[in-house]
Point group: C2
Chain length 91, copies 2
């Protein structure tokens, strides 16, 4: 999957990411986009996917939802953080 | 699905819910359990599922993951909130 098909969710407002997803779908005429997030940003990733689906691209369905655990190297050793990958596919 | 197969995630610490999931799997000998959460608790629900799978019940796989939007009636009118339902199935 090319990098342009992946949106990484961070600390910006939810609607910034929704706009990024919608823009990718429309300008680049993609049929699949994956939204990735870790830790507390997981809730925001779900919001982004749901807002995109309900308000902007009604033909988008969930193609795949993966949950995983990533091991991060921090100052105080390793820590585990959950992650989500939500793939939206336009019909 | 009987009520005992569903764990609703709220404000308690993550490990309380992990313990509830593991207990349901083991004491009641269930093969499927669904973890439900809304809004900011969604990240916690993913943590609970991942910790259960990695540390306690290694044979549990994801059977189904649903994302939805619920409409809540509040003091200031309606508001939308995202929700997740994660179903773990023991092989």
């Amino acid at each position: 999957m090319a990098e342009e098909n992946i949106i990484f969710v961070g600390k910006k407002p939810t609607m910034n990411y929704v706009l990024a997803v919608v823009t990718q779908f429309n300008s680049n005429n993609l049929d699949k986009i994956t939204i990735k997030a870790r830790g507390k940003a997981i809730s925001k990733a779900v919001d982004i996917a749901e807002i995109t689906r309900h308000k902007f691209i009604q033909t988008a369905k969930y193609d795949k939802i993966n949950l995983e655990t990533e091991v991060l190297q921090g100052e105080h050793g390793e820590s585990n953080v959950s992650s989500i990958e939500i793939t939206l596919k336009r019909q």
